[in-house]
């Protein structure tokens, strides 16, 4: 019998240890870029700054794939806990500050003072950072993050003043919230992840959701997350 294939190794065994390694490396890379950029000459700075965006993309993708893998296998420790919104917004802003500063992009922030909401912090920060990272690529020079309570739901908006989502992305956005995922590559992964995270958040019969629109306050693309 020569058609016996070598058994496929159990990838999950390697996954845990290599993710540990990769995250260490990413941490060092991000930290190196953030602390070294100010020391560079202006020219080099301009060339190096986008690398920060690229490293964050790798990190986003890694986080998304790991979460999807774990949720699918019912292993994700979904940590529904109360988060103060001002504190949550501050963490997101600080994480993205260096990248936005070097790209010359302004970030406006609006949120309800003193509001607290129940969600899984790691996952929601993952979704919002990813939306900000995307918007950074498509905006002209201004982004807005708003986090407010509307009709008993938490509504998070990430808007920009670029030329808006192409039709194909808008279509993919409305499809994924109906449970179909036909966007491919990084757009597909990001949309699937965001929609999965939204749906994990349930409260008393209501389920979270995402939506993509054009327009909004800044006239560009607009990512909206609803959490019950």
């Amino acid at each position: 019998m020569d058609n016996t294939k070598e058994a496929t190794p159990d990838i999950s065994a390697f996954l845990a240890s290599s993710i540990h390694d990769m995250k260490n490396s990413l941490g060092l890379l991000i930290n190196f870029l953030e602390t070294s950029l100010p020391e560079l000459g202006l020219d080099t700075q301009k060339k190096a700054a986008p690398m920060l965006y690229e490293v964050k993309r790798v990190n986003d993708n890694l986080l998304q794939m790991l979460a999807i893998f774990k949720v699918g296998n019912q292993f994700y420790p979904f940590d529904l806990s109360e988060n103060f919104i001002d504190d949550f917004v501050r963490e997101i802003v600080e994480q993205n500050k260096t990248m936005l500063d070097y790209s010359g992009i302004a970030l406006d922030v609006e949120f309800d003072e003193g509001l607290a909401w129940y969600f899984d912090r790691e996952l929601i920060i993952g979704v919002v950072s990813h939306a900000l990272n995307n918007a950074t690529r498509y905006t002209k020079d201004r982004l807005m993050l708003s986090v407010k309570e509307e009709d008993g739901e938490l509504v998070v908006r990430v808007e920009d003043n670029g030329s808006g989502y192409p039709i194909s992305v808008l279509d993919a956005g409305s499809a994924v919230s109906k449970g179909v995922n036909f966007a491919s590559g990084s757009t597909g992964l990001g949309l699937y992840f965001s929609s999965m995270v939204a749906k994990l958040h349930n409260n008393r019969g209501k389920t979270g959701s995402i939506a993509l629109e054009n327009g909004g306050k800044l006239g560009g693309s607009c990512f909206i997350l609803h959490l019950p």
């Binding site: 845990a16 993710i19 540990h20 990769m22 995250k23 260490n24 990413l26 941490g27 060092l28 991000i30 930290n31 953030e34 602390t35 990190n59 790991l66 019912q74 292993f75 994700y76 420790p77 979904f78 940590d79 529904l80 806990s81 109360e82 103060f84 504190d87 501050r90 963490e91 802003v93 600080e94 994480q95 500050k97 922030v109 607290a116 129940y118 790691e122 349930n202 409260n203 008393r204």
Partner: protein, 540 residues
């Protein structure tokens, strides 16, 4: 927009310990802390070094990587530091991890870190998390102290006060408060609290808590339903799986219990306790293959853990013996003597050794050990665990040492005369030895003897002869120090007497001692709580 508050003053005077196996990470973390204004930073590369540094120095903050290569992991180090009191209540322990695991997020409260940070670590997250943790530690300091002192009333009072004064940390305060109510046996009040929280929002810990209160109040089916609801919304919620297993076991549904426990060990593959529970349950069910596997894993996992215990060694030795492998069984028992140096464990290992020889047909050695155990048991004033005593009785019966068997069986029955499961086990032992009639006679006589003393005491008390009743039950208590019913009655009579005749130091001591011992034997005994309240209400 956001001002970075001047936090240097918060960090300047604090001491830090960094534990990470990766030189690059140690340097990066040290550099971050230096930027925050900390001057006092130590860094080590593994768990062993961490413990050595914690033994010598006091730290305000420990930043510990979860994955430390071979040897102890970050959770092991944390557990050992807490268990050995190497860190005080004020020390903030932060675990840094590449991935969020069920153990880290839903682990046992007493061994949880104060916070966890998921990699990649960046400066802004590290700074804001540290600020938050230090502020929270300060706010919860008196509550953490009350929890560690096991002062339940004070814990609840402090939580109430903090909840009334500020909105911050509300969830944590409610969790501590409701958890304490459950420990105190105040199930109705705990239930009310959980229902209030759940009326506003579906929260897994609150629903699990409601399930626990329901479990303690005896409605196992309803409790199981609640745990299942939590799991269906949150499949990795460890505690709900633990309790689902527990409530199935309590209902005698061992197959379902094993199923739930298996899921626990999948979600929490490094937990020594869950693996051990699985081994013991499977052993009880007669699923020797699963039990053997689980025991072997427990032994391997517990190498670096404070949760290392002889139970899984002894369990594995019994299974090897049952599988006709006495050689390995005896080797494991030798390991027990090497690994655990205490009298009770040595006695238990000896009993099992005797049973292994007996099973393998080596009568000479079995009888020799049986005689040794008999003299050890005789000299043993302290009450060894019932499990050991039952197995000793089994060994005595199997080796024809009838007198020793009778003594131990009588003591077991008299100290536990209301424990139906144990009485049945004693009966079974005699049945297996072909002495069913003798067994029934012994169990009945011993049981009746205790009931008679108790009844006599109760009648005396009813007639108002409280002093006489207390004397009678006090004597019975010295003879049968493990009997719960006698202790409860004795405490009750002491309280009654003081209600009539005023407070008396000796009666307070009797009641207090009894209640403490009952609470130790059976933390869920409802009489304990009520009598404790009555005792404290006795006027000065």
């Amino acid at each position: 927009m956001y001002m970075n508050p001047d936090t240097a003053s918060l960090f300047t005077g604090k001491s830090f310990l960094i534990v990470d196996d990766f030189q690059g990470m140690r340097t990066m973390l040290r550099e971050m802390l230096r930027k925050f204004g900390s001057r006092n930073v130590d860094a080590v590369a593994n768990g062993k070094e961490a413990i050595a540094f914690l033994e010598k120095n006091k730290y305000d903050v420990v930043l510990c990587d979860y994955n430390l290569g071979s040897g102890k992991n970050g959770q092991h180090v944390l557990e050992e530091a807490k268990y050995r009191d190497l860190i005080g209540l004020a020390t903030a322990w932060i675990i840094i991890t590449a991935e969020k695991t069920a153990d880290l997020v839903f682990g046992a409260a007493e061994y949880m870190p104060d916070d966890y940070i998921i990699k990649p670590v960046n400066e802004s997250t590290m700074r804001s998390r540290l600020e938050k943790v230090l502020a929270r530690k300060e706010m919860l300091a008196d509550i953490e102290k009350a929890v560690r002192d096991k002062d339940n009333d004070l814990t609840v009072a402090l939580c109430d006060r903090a909840l009334a004064s500020s909105k911050s940390n509300a969830t944590e305060l409610l969790r501590i408060k409701t958890g304490t109510l459950l420990t105190m046996g105040r199930y109705d009040r705990a239930q009310q609290e959980f229902e209030q929280i759940l009326a506003k929002r579906d929260i897994p810990w609150a629903k699990t808590g409601l399930g626990k209160a329901t479990f303690y109040k005896g409605d196992l089916a309803k409790a199981q339903q609640l745990f299942r609801e939590v799991i269906s919304g949150n499949p990795a919620y460890l505690e709900a799986h633990d309790w689902l297993a527990k409530s199935h076991e309590a209902a005698g549904e061992l197959d379902e219990a094993q199923h739930a426990l298996t899921r626990c060990t999948e979600l929490s593959p490094n937990s020594v306790i869950r693996q051990k529970n699985l081994g013991q349950l499977a052993h009880k069910r007669g699923d020797l293959e699963t039990a053997e596997n689980a025991y072997r894993k427990t032994i391997k996992l517990s190498e670096y853990s404070i949760h290392k215990s002889p139970d899984s060694y002894l369990g594995l030795a019994k299974i090897c013996s049952e599988n006709d492998n006495p050689g390995e069984a005896l080797q494991i028992l030798k390991d027990v003597h090497k690994e655990f140096d205490n009298a009770e464990t040595s006695l238990h290992a000896k009993v099992v050794e005797g049973l292994v020889y007996q099973k393998s047909g080596d009568r000479i050695n079995a009888e020799k050990i049986s005689r040794e155990v008999a003299s050890l048991v005789k000299a043993d004033d302290s009450q060894s665990a019932t499990g050991v005593m039952l197995e000793a009785a089994q060994l005595f019966l199997a080796t024809g040492n009838k007198e020793a068997a009778e003594n131990i069986a009588q003591s077991l029955v008299k100290n536990n005369h209301e424990n139906a499961e144990l009485l049945a086990q004693v009966n079974d032992l005699y049945g297996q030895a072909g002495m069913q009639d003798r067994g029934e006679e012994l169990v009945n006589n011993s049981r009746q003897e205790v009931i008679a003393i108790n009844d006599k005491g109760v009648i005396l008390a009813k007639e108002g002869k409280l002093d006489e009743a207390i004397r009678l039950l006090g004597d019975a208590h010295s003879l049968l120090p493990g009997n719960k019913r006698i202790m409860i009655n004795l405490a009750n009579m002491a309280v009654m007497s003081m209600r009539q005749n005023g407070r008396r130091g000796d009666l307070i001591q009797i009641a207090d001692n009894c209640l403490k011992q009952v609470a130790k034997l059976d933390p869920q005994e409802k009489w304990c709580t009520q009598l404790r309240v009555a005792l404290e209400a006795v006027p000065q």
